[in-house]
């Protein structure tokens, strides 16, 4: 077993804290992810990356991301995880060199050609095996270790017992998904999108056909009746929030949060929740008591029901979504704090979604407890009293009696 702790002054503390790896679909989300506690952020480039529908980063964006991350001692990983076709081969060599020169810490790669090319080029950046290769055993991990790769992102089908064995049998860095959407099929091995919508899932065009409705037939007999909910292959989203302690004890090197296409609110909420949880556990693991408030917080940003995925057992019907009505909107992200004057108690804010006088909002931050308040005073930029905030990105002032600071956020939680 990997050694993760030491005794200091008679108390065990975790010395091998896992990296908290967050997703970001644009620079704003990336900065928030880092400010809210991510040790590293993974982003997609304009080329060679899955999630073609996400905003994705130019090389200039990635450069800015690296510079920003450096200020916080955080790292930037870039996904180069498409499965290359002949038409995609051109330019990859130059792209890898450019990422390396910018100071990207790692690339996440699914195609063996890119892996080996990156090694041949003797780049400083690390090469991580993407979950798209569905690595689910120590032998596969050792294979990639022999090729000089530094980290393997495990398949999402790896359960706790197998993970424990893998951690004991290998000595390469291991990255494990702790939160986010789950593919219903083995990653990289699903052509549902390709066949049903002619969109290539392995090059970022996934149409999520697994979440569509289907009828089932045996011969000419339709098995599902009109009264039954239709067949679907949609999974609930993963959350291992109540297993973080045991994952830290295994020595997992990186905890991955999925969701490059998710909102700023999601990034801030999920990252800060796991940050606080990891830090609390590592400070005093032997006296740690799990607090359900972490799950409560995550649920505020979840738009699907949450599941443990494969963690304890093969998923049952309770881990799937058979009715899209099970998907629900997240609580509404309504403002981001730009500045706070403790004397006047006025917060200068950027409006993100509609809110009005009388709404109950909850402020949350990277490092302090949440608090709620009723919006009682609202001003426009000219300090004229207004009743509603209904222009996205408009700069306004709100009276906030609790202490807030720049980059805190608030969500609407009631009227």
């Amino acid at each position: 077993m990997r050694n993760v702790s030491t005794i200091i002054d008679g108390k065990r503390v975790i010395t091998k804290k896992p990296e908290l790896l967050a997703p970001a679909g644009n620079l704003e989300k990336l900065k928030v992810a880092i400010m809210y506690g991510a040790d590293a952020v993974f982003v997609g480039g304009k080329e060679f990356s899955l999630r073609s529908l996400a905003s994705n980063f130019t090389l200039e964006d990635i450069k800015e991301a690296v510079e920003f991350a450096n200020l916080y001692h955080a790292k930037i990983h870039v996904t180069c995880n498409i499965i290359l076709h002949e038409e995609n081969l051109e330019g990859i060599r130059e792209y890898l060199k450019a990422l390396d020169e910018i100071g990207v810490a790692a690339i996440i790669v699914a195609d063996p050609y890119i892996m080996l090319l990156a090694k041949q080029l003797h780049l400083s950046l690390q090469v991580h095996v993407s979950t798209q290769l569905s690595s689910t055993n120590a032998e596969a991990i050792r294979f990639w270790q022999k090729q000089g790769l530094e980290r393997v992102v495990l398949g999402r089908e790896v359960d706790y017992q197998d993970l424990k064995a893998i951690m004991a049998e290998t000595d390469i860095e291991v990255e494990y998904f702790i939160h986010g959407a789950l593919c219903i099929s083995y990653s990289g091995r699903c052509m549902l999108s390709n066949y049903y919508s002619r969109r290539d899932a392995n090059r970022g065009g996934c149409s999520q056909s697994c979440r569509w409705y289907y009828d089932i037939y045996k011969g000419d007999r339709k098995i599902n009746t009109d009264e039954d909910i239709p067949f679907s292959m949609s999974s609930k989203d993963l959350s291992l929030v109540d297993h973080i302690g045991e994952l830290i004890e295994l020595g997992v090197d990186s905890f991955k949060i999925e969701g490059r296409m998710k909102s700023l609110h999601y990034i801030a909420t999920v990252v800060s929740t796991y940050r606080k949880l990891i830090d609390t556990y590592c400070a005093d693991p032997d006296h740690f008591e799990y607090d359900p408030k972490y799950m409560t917080e995550l649920n505020k940003a979840a738009n699907r029901a949450l599941t443990l995925g494969f963690y304890n057992q093969k998923p049952s019907q309770n881990d799937q979504l058979f009715n899209l009505r099970d998907e629900h909107p997240t609580q509404e992200f309504c403002m981001r704090v730009l500045h706070y004057n403790p004397v006047t108690q006025l917060a200068k804010i950027e409006q993100r979604n509609y809110f009005k006088l009388g709404d109950v909002v909850e402020f949350f931050s990277p490092d302090r407890d949440n608090f709620k308040m009723v919006v009682r005073e609202l001003y426009n930029e000219d300090m004229e009293k207004i009743e509603v905030a209904n222009h996205p990105m408009e700069v306004l002032y709100v009276k906030v009696e609790g202490l807030v600071k720049k980059d805190d956020m608030a969500r609407k939680v009631g009227k």
């Binding site: 073609s52 498409i82 290359l84 002949e86 995609n88 081969l89 195609d111 063996p112 050609y113 080996l116 090319l117 290769l133 569905s134 689910t136 055993n137 120590a138 032998e139 596969a140 991990i141 050792r142 294979f143 990639w144 089908e157 017992q161 197998d162 893998i166 049998e169 219903i184 099929s185 083995y186 990289g188 091995r189 699903c190 052509m191 390709n194 066949y195 049903y196 002619r198 969109r199 290539d200 392995n202 970022g204 065009g205 056909s209 569509w212 409705y213 009828d215 089932i216 037939y217 045996k218 039954d228 067949f231 292959m233 093969k314 998923p315 049952s316 019907q317 881990d319 799937q320 058979f322």
Partner: protein, 294 residues
């Protein structure tokens, strides 16, 4: 072109040899995805003895293996060393690692269904010990041609049969039937199909101990397409013996697709992605959506 056929029945061995088939792929009881005759090591040895070097025998060890399955896998791969087989068809690099550590002499054929999509990847993997490649099913004809022309190792191109769509470790049918309180069998033999709502498009779906497998019901048919390459693969899942032998005859005698259609009007054929590639860039996705609306 030489043909490699998925062996669906022991009784097919002699007719396949008569037709000078280059090799057969043989499914196994605990190590295959999409195997038809799921053979134990003893049955594989019997098949090898029966074939007696008149065709190559490739064993399908193409699951993605989980850590608790590795000990048994190692024993199986070692047993294969004493079984006089010609090769192993795999997709998990753990299999390649074990075989290399065992120093087994059989050939390693990388067949991940969806990932062999360019020649550079395949040439890179050649350096790491892969001896041959089964091309992905989602390739355009021009891509197949480019890969075959530039690959340093033999390529096997799917030419006929139902096509792989997806594999999940989950029991998707069992879970659904539980959800709607119905008791239905979901094995391969049940020939269950799913149909996308509002589309006349069916796919086969079944479960086994590895999870849930989905295949097209339409058969890829390339009789009219002059597929490049040395080896063509005929997938026999969901097909019966007489039909399979006819299909082989049609390919070997360069018949046309129309002739097969005339004889078997109940079968549905298409050209996979060979003439109609996929899109993935957002602008191309939007263009296709607009086109479909019209």
């Amino acid at each position: 072109m030489k043909y490699i056929v998925h062996l669906n029945d022991i009784e097919m061995i002699e007719p396949l040899i008569e037709r000078q088939i280059a090799g057969v792929i043989v499914g196994t009881d605990h190590y295959s995805n999409g195997g038809i005759i799921n053979s134990s090591i003893e049955q594989i040895r019997q098949i090898v003895a029966k074939i007696n070097h008149r065709m190559h025998v490739y064993v399908l060890v193409n699951r993605l293996f989980h850590q608790h399955e590795i000990a048994s896998l190692k024993v199986f791969l070692k047993d294969l060393m004493e079984s006089d087989i010609d090769g192993v068809v795999f997709q998990d690099f753990g299999v390649l690692n074990i075989v290399q550590e065992l120093q087994a002499s059989y050939k390693m054929i990388y067949a991940p269904d969806t990932l062999n999509t360019n020649h550079q990847t395949m040439n890179s993997l050649s350096l790491l010990g892969v001896d041959a490649f089964m091309l992905a099913g989602q390739l355009h004809y021009d891509e197949v041609e480019a890969i075959v022309n530039h690959s340093q190792k033999p390529c096997i191109v799917p030419v006929h049969g139902v096509q792989y769509i997806s594999c999940s470790r989950r029991e998707l049918l069992t879970n659904y039937f539980s959800q709607i309180n119905k008791s239905e069998s979901s094995r391969y033999q049940d020939k269950i199909k799913i149909k996308v709502n509002n589309k006349e498009e069916y796919s086969y779906i079944y479960e086994d101990e590895a999870g849930t497998h989905i295949y097209t019901t339409n058969e890829l048919c390339t009789l009219n397409l002059k597929i490049p390459g040395e080896y063509g693969y005929i997938e026999t899942l969901y097909l019966d013996n007489d039909y399979i032998l006819d299909v082989i005859d049609y390919y070997q005698n360069h018949f046309l697709e129309e002739e097969l259609k005339t004889k078997y009007p109940e079968h549905n054929y298409d050209h996979g992605f060979l003439e109609d590639g996929t899109v993935y860039k957002i602008e191309d996705v939007r263009k296709r959506e607009e086109h479909e609306k019209r």
